[in-house]
Amino acid sequence: MLQYIAKRLLFMAPLLVGITIICFAVMHLAPGSPTDLQTQMNPRASAEAQERLRAMYDLDKPLYHQYWIWVKKLAVLDLGQSFSTDHRPVADKILERLPITILLNVLSLILILAIAIPIGVLSAVHQNSLFDKLTSVLVFVGFATPTFWLALLLMILFGVQLGWLPISGIRSLNYEYLPAVAAFWDLIKHLILPVMLSAFGGLAGLSRYMRSNMLEVIRQDYITTARAKGLSERAVIYKHALRNALLPVITILGLSIPGLIGGSVIFETIFAIPGMGQLFYMSVMARDYPVVMGILFIGAVLTLLGNLVADVSYAVADPRIRVS
């Protein structure tokens, strides 16, 4: 097992280097200098002051040198300072917003699993039934639905028309004065719509995948064997077939992480949730390059870690992977 993990880590190393190169390249595509925004806004900035500013961000050095400086700092999680007026370290700005983004994504992942797996299994077991046909249509519609539009519609319905759910932020204004239980309920109410919508994006794909997995497993010889020795249909499906059909889902979960993280930009912006996605959007609008580069990097590293966790859990669940 340890050997397997070491092998995966070794495979990840070049990817990590590639990620740093792409992050760095993206940020240096920019025509002109990132400090232009600060200096051009200020007519009194002299040529020397501009040079000093450039030197402060190491922009006067050759590219490979800048890359090396940047990577060395990355190694100790020093992502530089924000260009915005608070000039705070980028790492701090991201870290304080990361928990809410991770919380949202984990909750929606749980919701996706809880809904998509039963749908996939049931439509495979009752192939071509009304339920199967209905869910197939829903899956197609789900694939084509822009989730931010669905967000708008649900905000209109539950927020504006019915007034059941809040449509912005994660806390009410009077949050601090609420007793603990009410405060918790307040948080839940704010999270319902964002989590539901973020889960919606992944539902169609996973239930479709689960269905085809299950269909494939049901046709295997050992299922016929299980039936032949007189096991109840229930035991055949939920004990023998389901377990094997669930295995590849681990990989799919790993693969769905970049989509979820990317989607957090949209949901956090729509619902005004102070997470990493919203910070990313605001930094893009403000051209706060160090923050943009930092989040781009963190997003890719989170994906890499998610894939590692998926690979390792697959190996734990399925011994065949470890051996080959």
Partner: protein, 276 residues
Amino acid sequence: MESDFWKRFLQNKMAVAGSLVVLLLFAVSLLAPWIAPYDPSMIDLTQVLAAPSSAHPFGTDQLGRDVLSRMIWGARISLKVGFVATGIAILLGAILGAVSGYYGRWVDAVIMRFVDVMLCFPTFFLILAVIAILEPSIWNIMIIIGLTGWMGITRLVRADFISLKERDFVLAARVIGASDLRIIFIHILPNAMASILVAATLGVAGAILTESALSFLGIGVQPPTPSWGNILTAGKDNIDIAWWLSLYPGMAILITVLGYNLLGEGIRDSLDPRLR
């Protein structure tokens, strides 16, 4: 073979429905100047945020512009973005995949690691980061969506090439002295066209979804140019008073993407019924 394809395709109701939607969109985009009831940029301050009526079937926006007319012109933008972005992705994906699958060894290793690295990035993050630098404009959007969407096609074309290059017709071409370039583009690539076509159709749908999300966030197609995404931005700004600004453009996106997806799946199923 060809007639089999059409027979199967025409029997597939979903595929036919998808192609009708796509054809309708082409027609609407082409005929936009003639079928739009109003000038899409005509501001009428006496009709600000008017609810749907017989004069304005889909209502008006915050500047009194006719939403239906803006959506008809917006169809052009979607079509343009979908095709140009996918074109770029296909071009890159086909070339990289072909080279990777044909030459194998270190060329393949380098290209495939590059694909792995690109897939580590949440695509939406990558797109936003580049937009932060390049200014949002319709051309930049199309190029960026294309440049971040070629990885899947590369893997697909590579897989096709790996199995195709072992076939006898490739050996025959090599025996008569055809160059590598000729073998790749004249002999093998046409055989990989089927899977590329399917990927392209599904790619157009994806590009349209991405463009609408970007325009919705205000970093895609910039007003006053109408796009389905940026009408929805106005919908969000007026969420408590003008539901029609949110409802109709989103439905247009949904139907369009659904159409392309059904068409793509239909083509796939008709090309090779065993894949179903």
